[in-house]
Symmetry: C2
Subunit: 227 residues, 2 copies
């Protein structure tokens, strides 16, 4: 029974990581569509999203079967609940890749708004967060997970900067307003990808230590305000 559980858990992790690989591919293809104007990449993102959605259902199913048949406790139970949550975050990252791809589709039909401001940089940062969150999961590494949390501020800062730059630019070129809005929305899609990576990092820490650090910076602020 014990050995059976270990095998099932290893299979489940493998399933989740295969799905994560598809999510990473979808995000990259979406940004490539924007940067190169290659319309085939958009079709590719849609096709990958279908696979992600099927994997999403399959991972949830596998988690529930493990919970029902093996009735795990303590760290094993926490890990399976964490996988249920990571599964949701991965699927939502896939949705964001689709959003980016469809924004890119609109964007490349119109006049480009000067170089893509800091979007390529923001993409690299968000992409790194995703990779690092998944590495933290694979290696059960709390330091990697905590590094992901730190990086979220960089991505949020880039989103604000991109919005500001684009607004300044289109204010003097109101004809570019739709195009500018698309870039602002893509920056928000990337920000959400970073948020999902943060959620995954928090779930890794929870699964490993049983420590729930979600909302903890807020708690710290509250305590400060009270003291």
């Amino acid at each position: 029974m014990e050995r059976h559980f270990e095998t099932s858990l290893r299979d489940l992790k493998g399933q989740l990581l295969a799905m994560a690989g598809q999510v990473e591919k979808a995000i990259e293809s979406a940004i490539e569509a924007l940067q190169t104007g290659n319309i085939e990449k958009i079709t590719l993102v849609d096709a990958i999203e279908n696979k992600i959605n099927q994997a999403h259902i399959a991972v949830d199913d596998a988690c529930i079967k493990l919970l029902a048949l093996q009735q795990p406790l303590a760290a094993d139970l926490r890990l399976i609940v964490a996988i249920l949550k990571i599964n949701t975050d991965l699927e939502r990252m896939g949705d964001q890749a689709v959003n980016i791809a469809h924004h890119a589709e609109q964007y490349i039909k119109g006049t480009p708004v000067k170089p893509l401001v800091d979007l390529p940089l923001m993409f690299q940062e968000a992409r790194f967060m995703v990779r690092e969150a998944l590495d933290a999961f694979v290696k059960s590494s709390e330091p990697l997970a905590r590094d992901v949390l730190k990086r979220d501020d960089i991505v949020d800062g880039l989103k604000d900067k991109i919005s500001k730059d684009v607004l300044e630019h289109v204010k003097t070129n109101p004809i570019l307003i739709e195009q500018g809005l698309i870039l602002i929305l893509i920056a928000r899609n990337l920000e959400r990808i970073g948020d999902h990576a943060t959620n995954i990092a928090e779930d890794v820490i929870y699964a490993m230590s049983g420590e729930d650090i979600r909302h903890s910076s807020q708690l710290a602020t509250m305590k400060k305000a009270i003291s």
Copy 2:
């Protein structure tokens, strides 16, 4: 043991619904801030979000304790997994209420962009979806849950209409561009609240029937395309 499980489950549902009540209050207060310019409502939303975040952690804890101590099967197991998911969606709705409140804070400092286009109507529609999804959960009603799913298109349509109307308006009044962007972003926050209500409705259907209808419209499209 059986009776103890029933009591714990009833307590857990009560905890989730108390949290849902806070979420509804946060959404309403955020929109009230935008519509009336009452800055106190923004502080109120921040205070409610703190409570929501604490409830989020507490509900997850209670779910894990129930899974560990009672090792539920079949419908009970599905219900607890559904509550874990609904808990996440409620917490994210709270985040969206905070986003709306802070967008409202910026908006009321500036020049208003004509009446708030269709935002009040979109708010009503999104608000209705949230209420109906929670009713579906309380009453274990599949018809109510399915009605929520149908309404998502209305909310998405309103978001598109608002973006279009605002863009047309600011194109001839580029000075209003920042203000217009805020309204477009609030429409997106409301759209996401509608998406979370949809997720809750899907979880209710899953908990009741074991049927996973997520991504099913897409599956139908795929099957159609293949046939």
